[in-house]
């Protein structure tokens, strides 16, 4: 029911490759090759300037606010946003747009409540900021667990998506090709992260953001030009071509059904708006700039870029509904919407079989590929950093590890995480795992955000409160999904396809919603409160004024 659930991982898709004659395939493949060469080159260049732990984890804190703003955009605008949202708009009209709004408004939480304060009071990971006034080992273990779980969920969704997407775009649908794609994406991301650290990853994200903005802007302008830059005409044609008429431009096509689906939508909306500011791979980006002011500037840039991008996905989505017809339209439907943008590019370039169409299709496909690479690199780096800095250096070695050992451990961790991600994504490639993106937002909002906010604004907050809120939010959000219709009990659709993850004869579901946020987010806050008031920590309360001075003024902040 949600686009994130259907985005990218639909194995029903078999490309009846009209748009991918062998010439086009060569063109697409060479542009993919160009993206790979470019990013590999950047990584080699960045690796020469990566020496200290601060270089590896935080890019030497040397990026400007604007650069980091682009990198945040590159980290945040995933393939689910780019292909998923435009696809959802192309298929369900207005309802696809609802996602963009949650994804964007969420940045105000990050801007007003988190970015600057975190930059001033942390070092490399989310846990640093908690560990300032709490007991190191329990809070770091908890924060690292939730960081790794969120990042792996997000990573799996992207990698499985990459397998499906690349085979779609290159027009190969064999199992082996998907496996090779997943393994190749996995190896590339390990390469970026091991060698380039945060510097390499950041530059890959910046380049990707520029490519993505350029690509979507180009297609948007071409679409609008077809309608004489009259938005109303575009919408009218889209509504007419969709066969839904006026309803296509109103909310409700997708979520308007039962009371349950309405509550599910509210639950999703809350998780989207609160999740962003708790996503570990976003939080670590604030450490890559020299000051809190630069962190603020980077969020301002990010809001501008991401907002503009989502406005353009609106044009892409309605454009695809209006302009893509015939066999191509059927391909969009079969791909669950994911091919809407690439096929729209083909249509505005002159249509199937034309050179212009082939060039634009290949261009947008390469942009989508760059998008996936940049996002998976950021996720791998974030979880590797947390393993090395939180678990190895501070929990296991109790702060006695040398900087060199810590970075070595981070590189090893990146290998292991990459390996685990490949090993999970290959057998999972035919499952619809794209729901994991929505789940990652729900976990981030339920487990991470309460701990971060309480720590910054509540003096009494202590170790037990932090640990309870993190584990409580994590376990409840993941647990509720385990017993939701996503995992079992949804039955089969009209074509006999199983709609849940488990075989259709197993039904362990009792939680009616697919999005756990409406329960797990309040629970995370409640447990943080309950854990805190049932114990007292003198140190944590004494340290609070210090943390306040640090976070509000930047006195003693890492440089």
């Amino acid at each position: 029911m949600s686009i994130l659930h259907t985005a990218l991982a639909d194995d029903r898709v078999i490309l009846a490759a009209e748009g991918s004659t062998s010439d086009n395939r060569v063109l697409t493949a060479s542009l993919f090759g160009f993206v790979v060469l470019l990013t590999v080159g950047i990584t080699f260049w960045a690796s020469r300037n990566t020496k200290t732990a601060a270089d590896y984890y935080a890019g030497g804190r040397s990026f400007s606010g604007m650069q980091n703003g682009f990198a945040i955009g590159g980290d945040y605008m995933s393939a689910a946003s780019f292909l998923g949202i435009s696809g959802a708009i192309a298929l369900s009209g207005y309802d696809g747009f609802l996602y963009s709004i949650g994804f964007l408004v969420a940045w105000l939480v990050a801007l007003l409540l988190i970015a600057e304060l975190l930059r001033n009071s942390g070092r490399f990971t989310m846990a640093d900021q908690l560990a300032y006034r709490m007991e190191q080992r329990p809070v770091r273990t908890a924060a690292a667990t939730s960081t790794i779980v969120v990042s792996i969920f997000y990573l799996l969704a992207q990698m499985v998506g990459a397998g499906a997407l690349v085979s779609l775009l290159l027009g190969i649908s064999s199992e082996a090709a998907k496996n090779i794609t997943i393994a190749a994406v996995g190896l590339l991301m390990v390469f970026y992260v091991v060698l380039g650290g945060m510097k390499g990853t950041t530059w890959v994200q910046i380049v990707k953001a520029v490519l993505l903005m350029f690509g979507t802007l180009l297609i948007s302008v071409l679409v609008l030009a077809k309608f004489g830059f009259n938005l109303s005409d575009l919408l009218g044609t889209a509504a007419q071509e969709s066969g839904q008429g006026k309803a296509f431009l109103e909310p409700g096509l997708k979520y308007g059904g039962s009371t349950t689906s309405k509550i599910d939508f509210i639950s999703l909306g809350i998780a989207l708006v609160l999740g962003t500011a708790g996503l570990p791979h976003i939080l670590v980006r604030f450490y890559t700039v020299p000051t809190a002011k630069a962190a603020r500037v980077s969020v301002l840039w990010a809001i501008g870029l991401i907002g503009t991008f989502y406005l353009m996905t609106l044009i892409l989505g309605f454009g695809a509904a209006a302009l893509v017809t015939g066999d191509q339209k059927q391909q969009i439907i079969d791909s669950g919407g994911n091919l809407a943008s690439p096929l729209l590019a083909q249509a505005v370039g002159g249509g199937p079989g034309t050179t212009g169409g082939a060039i634009l299709l290949a261009l947008i496909a390469a942009v989508a590929f760059a998008t996936i690479l940049a996002v998976v690199a950021g996720l791998t780096l974030t979880s590797a950093s947390s393993v090395a800095h939180d678990l190895y250096a501070n929990v296991w070695k109790k702060g006695t590890a040398s900087e060199k050992d810590e970075v070595k451990m981070a590189r090893m961790a990146a290998f292991v995480i990459g390996g685990v991600a490949i090993a999970l994504a290959i057998p999972g490639k035919n499952l619809n795992v794209a729901f994991l993106v929505a789940l990652a937002f729900a976990v981030a909002a339920s487990a991470n955000l309460p701990a971060l906010l309480f720590n910054l604004f509540w003096k009494r907050f202590n170790t037990r409160g932090a640990v309870w809120s993190i584990y409580g939010g994590l376990i409840s959000s993941v647990g509720l999904v385990l017993f939701s219709p996503i995992v079992s009990g949804k039955g089969v659709d009209a074509t006999g396809k199983n709609l849940s993850l488990l075989p259709e004869n197993i039904d362990i579901s009792w939680f009616p919603l697919e999005n756990p946020g409406i329960v797990s987010i309040p629970l995370g806050f409640f447990l943080g409160w309950l854990g805190t008031v049932t114990t007292r920590s003198r140190v944590s309360e004494e340290r609070f004024p210090e943390l306040e001075v640090r976070s509000f003024t930047g006195a003693g902040a890492e440089k």
Partner: protein, 111 residues
């Protein structure tokens, strides 16, 4: 154990925390962030609820094929940009001078 900090640094943190400037900095932050956060959350939730439960209202056409739902959605973009811009202006004028001064004091004492 919490993170280790030298007594000298701790004393300086305590001194800054007790200054009227620091109280003013926190007050300035709260004055903007608290009402604004409540406002944009309420505004966003109103939009989510309207999308769910106020279909007739959202479907009204305003001009051409542009309906209330689209305008309401676009307004969320406008308010997000506007709040971000307002915060940038506000923090530059009201908060940065105080935090810069306090940080400079800290660095003179400790570094």
């Amino acid at each position: 154990m919490a993170e280790k900090v030298s007594p000298e640094v701790q004393a300086e943190y305590a001194r800054i925390h007790a200054t009227p400037e620091f109280a003013a900095l926190k007050a300035a932050y709260r004055k903007f962030v608290l009402p604004m956060t409540i406002a944009f959350m309420v505004w966003y939730l109103t939009y989510v609820l309207c999308s769910n439960y106020a279909g007739d209202f959202m479907g009204q056409q305003v001009f051409g094929n542009i309906n209330v739902a689209l305008l309401f959605g676009l307004l969320q973009f406008v308010t997000t940009f506007a709040i971000a811009y307002a915060y940038a202006r506000y923090s530059l004028a009201k908060m940065d001078p105080i935090s810069d001064e306090l940080r400079a004091q800290f660095e003179r004492e400790v570094d």
